[in-house]
Subunit: 246 residues, 2 copies
DNA sequence: GGGGAGAGATGCCGC
DNA sequence: GCGGCATTTCTCCCC
């Protein structure tokens, strides 16, 4: 197929609000929040009906170039090459793809009204602690969840068995230095805003790095090893033989 | 085409180490670090030669499900449906895609030896400051870049015109609360490790949020408005009429 | 729309 | 491999 024919084929698919997927040999240039340049090679390019575009190299899971919904796309030809210009006026961003050869192309009108449901997040973790406070320690009583402060959001605010105000910061993965400074920020803010001199800080996570643990202890805070809940995992152990998922 | 034929077509393409791109109506289930479930709808699925897989809904720029390189993929049929099972034993992760209908399919062997070059990053910003220290203030002299400390990496370490040790933390976007706590962590660490009571902290970014500015000032630190450098932007203003990029 | 924080973050680099 | 951290982060939620 001639470049001119491909260009109008691609243009028409975009005009019909279809989702496009094609593989090509191309160079890519981006200018916007940052700037990038990529030499000649094979890539997969996807343009969605909402205008978002993704450029993928043949390896790796992250796109090499991309633009958000609301981007306008035009195809033209120049010296036997197809040139895709993707422009987002609001974000002041632009991608130019100079295509030497198209390996394959397809497009289709896609429909999807579903929303993903995810379990095992940090929210689920704080829900679990709120519902089962002894996970933190005996006598711990949650007072509020997602407490708003000027200096940030507190995951779980509670009182320990001695009546001391206690702030719990949850992390679903290994807690690092930034988790400790985050906790410290909340503790300091609560001490000032409530005029209390003693506030406990607890970092709840599956594990913590060495440096973070040191910094945590330097500040008189505590670590409690807790993992986020996973519901499917339990379910799947029982259902593995029924639905083959496990 | 029959489901069985599609299943072997897809299997063969994976076996030949090609990159696959197909659109289908499907349900998706994920289990691994967390767990997710997605009902029936149209999606684009890409499987790369390195084993990485991406599942995209028809809108939005982020994949709804994905797995990294090293994932094994098998296609089989069950009750007229094609079932893709993607398994990563090392990461203990699994995706199951139950495909009702394939809208289009393509695959191709892709080659790409290029590496992207990005400009306007935080590194470029600290390079710029190191090369042109007066951007911070008159008399500022950088001492080292990317100074390693137990509590993190300092972007630019320098001395001001009065000989006071000064730490500069760069952000390429708007500086928020976490940028202030990061700077504070470095300043405190340097004060302790070098036994100095007076260390200046400067946050260099295009802009800063209201709350971050307050916290910054509460801690006696300073803000300096600096943006990351962009080369194409300048070039393109001059070249706009020559290469059409601008 | 801005701000703050999580994410199945990802990817990079350093030790 | 872990750790610390930037990212064209993206996305969500709340003010």
């Amino acid at each position: 197929m001639k470049p001119e024919e491909y260009a109008s084929l691609l243009s028409d698919a975009v005009a019909r609000n279809e989702t496009l997927a094609f593989a090509c040999s191309c160079t890519i240039r981006y200018s916007g929040r940052a700037e990038s340049s990529l030499g000649l090679g094979d890539r997969i390019i996807i343009i969605k009906a909402d205008g978002s575009v993704l450029c993928h190299q043949p390896t790796g899971s992250a796109p090499i170039n991309y633009m958000k919904a609301g981007t306008a796309h035009t195809f033209r030809t120049e010296k036997g090459k197809i040139i895709l210009t993707s422009n987002n006026l609001i974000q002041k961003e632009k991608i130019i793809v100079t295509i030497e050869k198209i390996h394959f192309f397809n497009s289709h009108k896609l429909e999807d009204g579903q929303t993903i449901s995810v379990m095992g997040t940090e929210d689920d973790m704080s829900d679990m602690i709120y519902a089962n406070p002894s996970l933190i320690e005996d006598g711990f009583k949650p007072v509020s969840q997602e407490e708003q402060t000027k200096y940030g959001f507190i995951d779980v605010l509670g009182v320990d068995k001695n009546g001391t105000l206690t702030i719990v910061e949850c992390k679903r993965y290994s807690a690092e230095l930034s988790a400790v400074t985050q906790l410290r920020r909340y503790v300091e803010k609560v001490m000032v805003s409530k005029g209390i001199s003693k506030v406990r800080g607890i970092l709840a996570a599956p594990k913590i790095t060495e440096n973070a643990k040191k910094m945590l202890e330097d500040w008189g805070f505590e670590f409690k090893s807790i993992s986020p809940p996973k519901y499917f995992e339990e379910y799947d152990k029982k259902q593995a033989r029924l639905d083959g998922f496990g």
